[in-house]
């Protein structure tokens, strides 16, 4: 039982700090906030790729870093302290691991390089208008026609579909047996005829979500990952991967720091908000919860390092992590007082009042999604009850 950093780990931390200081420059920061988000984030990911740091959780043989849990912890801590965005999850965090775990040699050769160097933007085709938490009830249909599948149906809540080159899709290839059987995991080129994207504006007033419609979309059979009708296995493995990243303790820690900074500048009757005992207690309780979660994440990382893929325990990280994200976002809104509600309407938020308050608004509003996506927190509790506690 020991968390002391070794000399090698301290050297690694210096390397991370040096890289971030040099490569995450002010010019990139302002571009990430602007209209060309996609171009800016891709450029950042390509800088990470050139450094060899794009795939922290991948095995070395597929282009991963081979980092120890401690190295991942150091990297994430340094990243969040600087407010550096995480890697867009759909390629590196989701489809990549499924391809190297379940894919054919041809698929690995064809798709993994584009995932690693961010030249391919992926999106996720899981939920449907009629199937959200009950994912296995999905109806989007793929029928065999020669050496192609013909896909018909619709996917929803597809983040950044408007930017995507490819989509990974769960489709129904059979109606026999249990609903979990007969599902297939397939990769689809977004340029294929018959795909239509309908934007969905979310409660943060932004456009990241979409509905993606499929009308007679023809996809070669070699794009199936894993076995036909065994896509549920792939789907579950992907969700377990997704859940570990969802906790995002580092981001919540950064939000706490931003709250403290803001609350030390906010004055109420000549007194700093941060000196208000009731406010202090709220901040303290959140910090303490995060301390615990950070070590739960470390314990999970250490267990993964010893045993490979994450298990149902990752559901705990998802539940607690998203609860704390939301609690932190809520306290940041409270800190912003009236300014939490200001819509800049095209003006510079700085001119209207607190420049950070609109960020707080967007994070809080979009943050409502976190307890719903990746399998709602109630579904996570069902998973823990069944697979960890053995309750039927």
């Amino acid at each position: 039982m020991d968390i002391a950093f070794s000399p090698e780990e301290l050297t690694f931390r210096e390397e991370v700090r040096g890289f971030f200081d040099e490569q995450f420059d002010d010019e990139l920061v302002s571009r990430l906030r602007g209209d060309n988000f996609k171009e800016a984030i891709v450029e950042w990911q390509q800088r990470l790729y050139k450094k060899g740091w794009i795939a922290a959780n991948w095995p070395v043989e597929h282009g991963g870093t081979g980092w120890t849990p401690t190295q991942k912890y150091i990297y994430e801590t340094e990243r969040s302290e600087r407010g550096i965005p995480g890697v867009i999850p759909f390629g590196i965090g989701m489809v990549g691991p499924m391809i190297y775990q379940f894919g054919t040699t041809e698929q690995k050769e064809k798709f993994l390089p584009g995932v690693l160097d961010s030249t391919t933007w992926w999106c996720q085709g899981y939920s449907e208008p009629g199937s959200g938490s009950d994912l296995a009830s999905l109806k989007t249909k793929a029928e065999l026609d020669g050496d192609h599948y013909v896909i018909n149906g619709a996917k929803i809540w597809t983040s950044y579909a408007q930017y995507a080159d490819w989509i990974f899709v769960l489709v129904r290839t059979s109606n026999e047996g249990k609903k979990q059987e007969g599902i297939t995991f397939i990769l689809v080129d977004m340029k294929t005829p018959g795909i239509k994207i309908n934007p969905i504006i979310s409660i943060d007033n932004e456009h990241s979500l979409n509905e993606v419609e499929f009308s007679d979309v023809r996809v070669p059979v070699e794009n199936v990952v894993g076995e036909v009708n065994k896509g549920w296995t792939v789907a579950k493995a992907l969700l377990a991967h997704e859940r570990t990243g969802i906790a995002d303790v580092a981001q919540s820690k950064r939000n706490i720091r931003l709250i403290k900074e803001a609350a030390s500048a906010e004055m109420n009757g000549g007194k700093r908000l941060l000196d208000d005992a009731g406010f202090q207690a709220k901040v303290a309780d959140l910090e303490i919860e995060l301390m615990a979660l950070e070590f739960t994440e470390l314990r999970t990382l250490a267990a993964m390092a010893a045993g490979g893929f994450p298990g149902p325990e990752s559901s705990l990280l998802k539940i607690k992590g998203t609860e704390l994200q939301q609690a932190t976002q809520e306290l940041r809104m409270e800190t912003a007082a009236y300014y939490q509600g200001v819509l800049p309407n095209g003006m510079d938020p700085e001119v209207l009042g607190h420049s950070w308050a609109h960020d707080a608004f967007r994070n809080y509003m979009y943050g409502r999604a976190s307890t719903i996506y990746g399998g709602s927190n109630e579904v996570q509790k069902n998973i823990i009850a069944k697979y960890v506690l053995g309750l039927e």
Partner: protein, 379 residues
Amino acid sequence: MNFDFSEEQQMVRDSIARFVQDDYDWDTRRAIVASDTGMSDKAWQTFAELGWLSIPFAEEDGGFGGDIVDTMVIMEEIGKGLVVEPYLPTVVLFGGLIARAGNEAQRNAWIPSIIEGSTSGAFAYLERQSRFEIADCLTQAKTAGDGWVLNGEKVVVFNGANCNQMIVLARTSGEQWDRDGLSLFVVAADAEGVNRVDYPMMDGQRVANITFTDVALNADSLVGEAGTAMATVEAMIQEATIALMAEAVGCMGTLNTKTLEYTKTREQFGVAIGSFQSLQHRMVDTMMAYEQAKSLLFKVVCEYKQDPASAAASIHALKVFIDKNAKLVYGEATQMHGGMGITDELDIGHYAKRLMMINTTFGDATYHRAQYIDKAYAA
């Protein structure tokens, strides 16, 4: 970074678990608590024989040379078994203070006898008015010739009823709340002028209120330097708090295990009550509370092992966190056991009462939250 236990730590864990299973079942524990002394000398001798009483002490003092991780392992198992024998007062507090501040003669006098099980110790630091402020001390020791004369009263002294030696915190100079001017003395429980009123606490432990009336002490009863005890005591309480939190985690784990087993077998409306989703989700909540508490305990232990001073804020955090989550765990355990959960016969309520005492010992959540804020925001 690793969260593994050494082979020796695993062996100690297994041996305590085996002891609890074979020799400390629920009926045995009930009988011990109901006995005259409220503890078992036989069990204590077993602890001595199996070496558990030697673990935290340095090898040069005849101990095993263990660290905070070893103490955590022992205390967690004590918590699981709801072991009532005074490991914390005797080994951690009395022995710990001697090990930290005692001179060679004092260490030779007391540590081997703790290890062999013949010295039963206590630390008398609370007073009627002090609540959680340790420096709020009215008990006085005045110089008299080469030695001292002790007057005052200490309350809720853990193991106060059964100890044969105690360390008393007394003021040798300064005013009531001064941090300076406090000193530690070893006092024999049967010394002239020592009067004990002993009584049980709700968690089964035996404590005492102890008055000292012109108790004459030798010069060599003084532990450490006169007037400078506060730093020693605070450091000691930090370590003891970690030990206590490990015990709490042990209690929480057992409550969850027992509750889970119960809901899988207890049938209502023709099915096991564990099949109800409303109960399942609440058991997930208590499972997460336990895992999270354990994680924070690991953080504190790892920090303390590196540098005790660096763990100060995290120890306050842990106390706040355990308070909240222990309440959730014992509250749900009681509720899910239904009517049986509120009987004296079942062990559930006794685990709850132990956790309630743990929550108030060394300061409650309100106190520690304020301390945490002082430390965290001063930085």
